[in-house]
Every structure is written in C-alpha cells, then in structure tokens.
Amino acid sequence: MTTTEIEQLAKKEYKYGFVTEIESETFPPGLNEDVIRAISAKKDEPQWLLDWRLKAFATWQKMEEPDHWPQLKYTPTPYNEISYYSSPKKKDGPKSLEEVDPKLLETYEKLGIPLNERARLAGVAVDAVFDSVSVVTTFKDTLKKAGVIFCPISEAVRDYPELVQKYLGSVVPHSDNFFAALNSAVFTDGSFVYIPKGVRCPMELSTYFRINEASTGQFERTLIVAEEASYVSYLEGCTAPMRDENQLHAAVVELVAHDDAKIKYSTVQNWYPGDEDGKGGIYNFVTKRGKCAGRNSHISWTQVETGSAVTWKYPSCILQGDNSVGEFYSVALTNNYQQADTGTKMVHIGKNTKSTIISKGISAGKGQNTYRGLVKIMKGAENSRNYTQCDSLLIGDRCGAHTFPYIDVRNTSSTVEHEASTSKIAEDQLFYVQQRGLDLENAVSLIVNGFCKEVFRELPMEFAVEATKLLAVSLEGSVG
C-alpha cells in the first residue's frame, strides 16, 4: 500500500479539545515562596506540610531541568510565567452531586465519565480533578463501609493527617528529581487511597484529570497505601483542551504496598498531543513510583500513553520486601510531532523478587518514541528474576524508535533477560488481512492491536475497550 493511503488513516481529531466556560479562581503567574504559602493557606494546611513544601521549593531552585539525557527536544516551560493554582469558583466543597456546577458535570459527561448514577452500573468510583482542584468523589459511602478511604488529598491532609504525614514523600522524596521537587512545592490536589488490612477494595477506583484553564500547570499528587493483605485496582485518565501553548503537567504518584498487598495501577493518558505541526500540547513530566515494602507484595503498572506533546515518565517499582513482584506493561504511541521518553525502573532489593517489563512503542508520522529502563539487582536480592521485552513498531519513514535499557546486576543467583526488536508492519501480514476482506485502515488497526495485546489484556475491561479505540483514533492519518 502507498504511504499516502496509510497516512490518510492516522488523522482523526482530538475530540476532547474543547474548553469549558466556567468561572474560575486562578493565581497570577509566577512562582515564589509567597505563592506556595498562598496555596497552603488556601487549602488550610498544617504547618508541617507548608514546611515540607518550602523545603522542596528550596531544593528545586538548586536543581537543573533534566534536558540533556532524555531523547527529547522541547522548549522548557517558563516556570515564572505560568499559574500554579486554578480552581472552579465555588464557596464550599460540594456535598453531593446536585451542588456541583452543572457546567462541570456537562464537561465530564462529554468526556464520558460516569459521575452520577450511571457510575453505579459501571461500578467505578471516580474522583475527578478539574485543573487543580478535586471536584467530586462518587461512591464515598460504599467505600466507607468497606473501610476504604478514597478522597482528594487535600481532604486527607485535613481528615487523616497522621496517614498523610507518614507516607507523603516516603517513596518519592521531595528532592527526587526536578519535576518531583516542583510538584512537592506546589501540588494542589490529587487522590488519596487507603486500603485497610485484609480488605479487597469492592470496586475499581478511578481518577479523571482535566486541564481547562490556559497558562496553568497541573500538579497533582496521588498517594495509595495498601495495608497487609489488601487489594486495590486504580485507574487514571486525563484530557485537556486544544491550545497553541504547551501546558505543563507534573504529577507525582506514590504507591506503598505492605505484606501480601497488591496494587494495580492503570493509566490511559490522553492529554492534548498538539496539532499536526507540533504546535501546542501538554508536557507530561510525571514521577510515578511504587514501593513493595512488605513480603509478597505486588505492584503492577499498566499504561497506555497516546496523548501529550512530550512525555517523560518512568513508573517504577522498588522491590524491597522478599518475594515481592513488580510489573510494567506499557503501550506508548507517538504520532505527528509527539515525543515520548518512557519506561520503568525495577530495583530489586529483597530476595526472590520478580519483575516483568513489557513495553510496546509505536511511532508514526514524525513521532519519536524512546524506551528507557533500568533493572537493578542489588547484592542481597538473591534468586531475583527479571524479564524485559521491548518491541517497537515504525509506521512511516520519518519517525524514530529508540531503546535504552540499563541493566545492573550484582549477584550470581539472579537472572536478567532483555529482548528488544524494531520493525515495521510486515507487508505480508497487511496483505493477508486485506485479502481476507478488511480494508487498509482496519487491517493496520488489527495488526497494531495484536502488537499491543499483551499490554491491553492487563487493563480492566472498560479501559481496554477505551484504549483500543484510543489507539485507532491516535493512529488515524499516520499509518504508513
């Protein structure tokens, strides 16, 4: 098939690109200690949290943006020209769905998020974050009965300060990296999840993030703590309006799994990727890390990255407890001028720890897709095992696919395997599928989905369907 034909396939519009006209309260642009104090005051935070923010800010000022090592080219964010706080205007937090601004609800409706009763059918508890502030959390009562805490992190600071103080920054310290330090200083909201001992969370928890206001950054912070023998599956989705400027999204996600606990964290990231000429789009600079603190604990990351102009993201696992398991399943797609530098870190500390990495990169148009990962087996991590597979698919002759794994092994009883391959969609496969009666677009879609199958089957059902559709949409017009 011809390149042009295929290119026709990959052009579909970004359907979440609308802006909601809603009155909001936004801080003037700029970043200094006063802004941080103001954010902290706005949220009525205790002194320890303000001190922690200021400490992070001081550290951040001394740090340099990591622009030299990732395989990314972008104009750095002018940190003093963006606003660090924006919230839909309201007097008090909404007590129930009726009190939420109907315009907001409409927005979520458009995004297809089941916020109200339809949510019951979907059986997903949703925490929705609009710009910087968490708007509403559904199914609070059902969760409360099970003993699960699922609320905006600002509420958690107020209601469960001991828990937040104990775990905040315990996995990603405030000095971890440039973006994590910035987030620690200015984070505004996010989700907090606490699963008590022995509880299997009765439903999937979900957060939707939405950037609406122009010239703002979004800095959310998610903290999930799973006590002994508990289980939780958490989903995350994101969208943003279409704008010519690059907006910054610098989130931090921390997971803590105690003995025998399991956390499953799934992301479908669909921030605005910028237009065909690479103008606009979200900078997605995210630090995600899970700590398998207890014996037999298990953390699993699944991500489908189709949005953002620039993605810089390495969901990681620190396998501290003996027999703990870390998993990373990723599909990253870059089209037009999108760039992604993503991967994972698996740090094996405990004995008999296992990790699996399956990464599928798809590059189309002028997209640049990089897998960067670290597997580190410490001396004490006896009998550890890692298996890594990174496959890249190239669609078109102007895109790039890169693989940069780092493997560091320090004992003899562990086994580490890494495999990677890069290829384009085989002509014979395309021919075969077309010859069976599928048109070109569907043929490519079928093959790409087959390529990603190992990752998609890790996603919860609703998300898997969404991810498949998303992939088809993102590829439209680029196939070639």
Binding site: C399, H418, E419
Partner: protein, 442 residues
C-alpha cells in the same frame, strides 16, 4: 581545568614537543590538545562513562614513557616472544613505549602492503581527511589526547586487490621502571578497494608498576575491502588501558572486529563503526574475562548511514571475584539507511556475588524498513545443565568448568588465529578453572 593541574607533565611535554614532527600535523595536534585541555578526562557524569570511573587514572601525573626502555634486550625479547605469534604472522612489528624497535621486529612485509611512518603518511592525499576524524567521533577527549601526543604511528596501506594470507601482527609493549609512564600507540589501516587482510594488535606490559596506554586504531575500508581487526588486550593487572577503534566502511566492504579484554586494572575499549557505503557489513565480537578487582568496559557504537548495511554484535563476559564488567552497545540507523539488518547480543556470566555487570544495549532508529534486534542476559550457570552433566558421571567441579568453557568457546572458536585461541583457553583455565583442567581432555 582541575584535571590538568595534575597533568603538568603531559602539558609540559606537549608544549616542548608540539613543534616536532611533520608540519602538516602541527595544527591537528594543537587542536586536539586544546580539546583535551578544555574537556579533561571523562567522568561518570558523562553518559558514555557512567559506569567507569577514571578517578584512579586522573590522580597520577602521567609522563610520556622513555624512548630508551631501561629493560635488558634479552628480557624484552623474552616478553615479546611469549606473546608473539610463533609462525603464522606475515610480519611482526614491535613497539616499545610507542617506538618501533627494529631489533625486536620481523619486518618482512608481504607484497601488496606498505608500512609508512607518520611523516610519510602525512604526505598522502587521504591523510588529513582520515587522521583527525577520529577525535570528533567520541564525547571523550582521550582519542584527542592520543592525536596530540602520538609522535609515531603504524600506518599500513593495503594495495588494491592485495590479498594477505597471514596476519600482520603489531605488539605494543609498555616497559620501564617509571610508575607514571604513559604511551600513546596509534595504528592506521588503509585498505584500498578489494584489499583483504588480518591485523592483530596485542597490548602488553611488563613490570609490576601501574602504567597507562591510551591507544587509537583507525580502519579505513574502501569499496569491497575486507579487514579483520583483532585486539588482544593483555595488559598487566596494574595497568590502565584506554583504547578506541574507529572504522569507516565504504560500499560492500566487510569488517570483522574481534576484541579480547583480558588484562588491566581498568580497561576501556571504544569501538566506533561507521557504515558509510551501501551494503557494508560489520561483525563485532568481544570477550571479556574479569577477575580480582578488574574493571573491563566495552563501548560499541555502530552507525548505519547508508541502506542495505548489516551489522552483528556478539559480546560475552565472564566475571569472577570483585570484577566489574560493562557493556554498552548502540545501533544507530539513519533515516536513509533502509533495509538495514542489525542485531546485538550481550550475554554475561557472573561467578561471584561480588562481581558486577552493567549492560546497556541500545537501539536508535530513524528508518522504518529495518530489522533490528538486541538481547542481553545476565545469569549464573544453568542448574539443569550442571545437574545433567553430573548425572552423566561428571564431577561437580568438572561440570562447572565444562560449562564456563562452553560459554566462552562460542566466541573463541570463531577466531581464525589458532595461537590466540590457545592463549585464551589458557587464560580461562587459569582464571576460572576449579580443581583441574577447565576443558575435558580433547
């Protein structure tokens, strides 16, 4: 620069001797030294040197080794004889501390090959294009330091369609009593169209002191040329050896690069292969055998700049005691290099819990119609295989030795030079063998 304050002697040496040598070289050298002065030694902050610290190397005030080696001629002869190929070498050139020693060398050159001095080579039309091109290819300034300070070089020109049956052997020996001696060996192989040859470079040292060899080899393959380059790094275990090979391949040429890192407290081997003509082919193999506290670093960069090229990398490491091995392999495929076929494999065997390996196989691909793959494994001896051998009546030690031997042998058996194979097998037995012979009696 802080690094240079320590390296006064190299600095002095350069200012005193930069005027020497052929005039054509002077600007190149000055440029190269300026680069080193500005950049200094690489540090672990440089991505390409992330796992290899040059701290120990920078702490010594290195001084260029004496031209007149103090050792007795008989001792030198014995050392050289121990390492030199006995009868297959067409020519053996022996350099002591960077200077060609006629009394130790066998200079009968076969037909079709010319040996030029650096001054003569500087008169050739290709020289200025080729000579300094190496310096720009690495982020590190060590090859530039070699350009600045190497005042002799081995330049071998293979005439068009010359076919050499036997290998050309070059031995670089560092000897003397100074504990701060540094040498800067430089080799150039210029293969004219359809020429074919094997060049073996052996790096050795004598004495128990630390010394430094900072060497560069350049291979220029014209259309259809076939060159096999064998690097045997057999330095003493106190030594530092930093080496860089730069290869430029024209249309339909073929390079085989065999690399053996055996000696040295710190050995770093950079291999940069550029496939600049369509249909060029490169095979790059390496074996590194580390024990005690050795640090052995392999750094391979293959650039596919033209279509229809293929390259295959196969590196194996065995590490015992507190040895630290590093493998970095990068395959770069430019946008126009369609139909590239490239594969890379690094397998490592750790024999001790104190040993460490960092491996970093990388793919950087800008063309879509390519086949590229890489794989890396690190592990211990296969328990099932050990059990199987024991169940067949082999003693545990013998079974272990047998498997180590087999692991390394897949690379060793590919070497065309028999004496080198035997030498490597001896090293395997000496370093990793337990309770007797490593290999079963043949």
């Amino acid at each position: 620069m802080s690094t240079l304050t320590v390296h006064n002697k190299l600095h002095e040496d350069f200012s005193q001797n930069s005027g020497a040598g052929p005039a054509a070289l002077r600007p190149l050298r000055e440029q190269a030294f300026a680069r080193f002065a500005a950049t200094g030694f690489p540090t672990t902050r440089d991505e390409a040197w992330r796992f290899t610290s040059t701290r120990a190397l920078t702490q010594v005030d290195w001084q260029r080794a004496d031209q007149q080696a103090q050792s007795q001629l008989d001792d030198l002869k014995a050392t050289v004889a121990h390492h030199a190929l006995k009868d297959v070498a067409a020519t053996t050139l022996v350099f002591v501390n960077g200077f060609l020693r006629e009394d130790l060398s066998q200079r009968r050159l076969p037909a079709g090959v010319r040996l030029l001095s650096l001054a003569d080579a500087a008169q050739e039309d290709w020289f200025s294009e080729y000579y300094a091109v190496a310096d720009a290819e690495t982020a590190s300034a060590l090859p530039a330091l070699n350009t600045a300070l190497a005042d002799s070089a081995t330049v071998l020109v293979l005439d068009a369609e010359a076919r050499l049956e036997n290998p050309l052997e070059i031995i670089h020996l560092s000897c003397g009593i100074s504990p701060h001696r540094a040498t800067f060996p430089r080799t150039m192989v210029v293969a004219k169209p359809m020429a074919e040859a094997t060049v073996l470079e052996t790096f050795i040292g004598s004495g128990g002191e630390a010394y430094w060899q900072n060497s560069v080899s350049q291979l220029h393959l014209a259309d259809g040329a076939r060159v096999t380059h064998v690097l045997a790094e057999l330095a003493t275990e106190q030594a530092f050896h930093t080496h860089a090979t730069f290869a430029h391949l024209s249309r339909d040429s073929k390079l085989v690069s065999e690399n053996m890192l055996i000696g040295g407290a710190l050995a770093r081997n950079d291999i940069h292969v550029n496939l600049n003509g369509p249909g060029a082919e490169a095979h790059i193999n390496g074996l590194f055998l580390g024990h005690a506290r050795q640090h052995l670093d392999n750094h391979v960069v293959v650039r596919h700049n033209e279509p229809h090229g293929c390259s295959f990398q196969n590196f194996r490491g065995i590490l015992d005691d507190k040895a630290h091995g590093v493998f970095t392999g990068r395959i770069f495929v430019a946008q126009d290099a369609q139909k590239t076929d490239s594969a890379q494999s690094n397998r490592n065997l750790l024999l001790s819990d104190e040993a460490r390996i960092d491996t970093k196989p990388q793919l950087e691909i800008y063309a879509d119609d390519v086949k590229c793959a890489h794989g890396a494994t690190t592990g211990q001896l296969n328990q099932d295989a050990l059990f199987y051998l024991q169940s067949r009546g082999m003693a545990p030690d013998a079974a272990r030795n047998f498997l180590i031997y087999a692991f390394a042998h897949e690379l060793i058996e590919k070497l065309a030079i028999r004496e080198l194979r035997e030498h490597l097998e001896a090293v395997l037995v000496e370093r990793f063998g337990q309770a007797g012979a490593l290999a079963p009696e043949a």
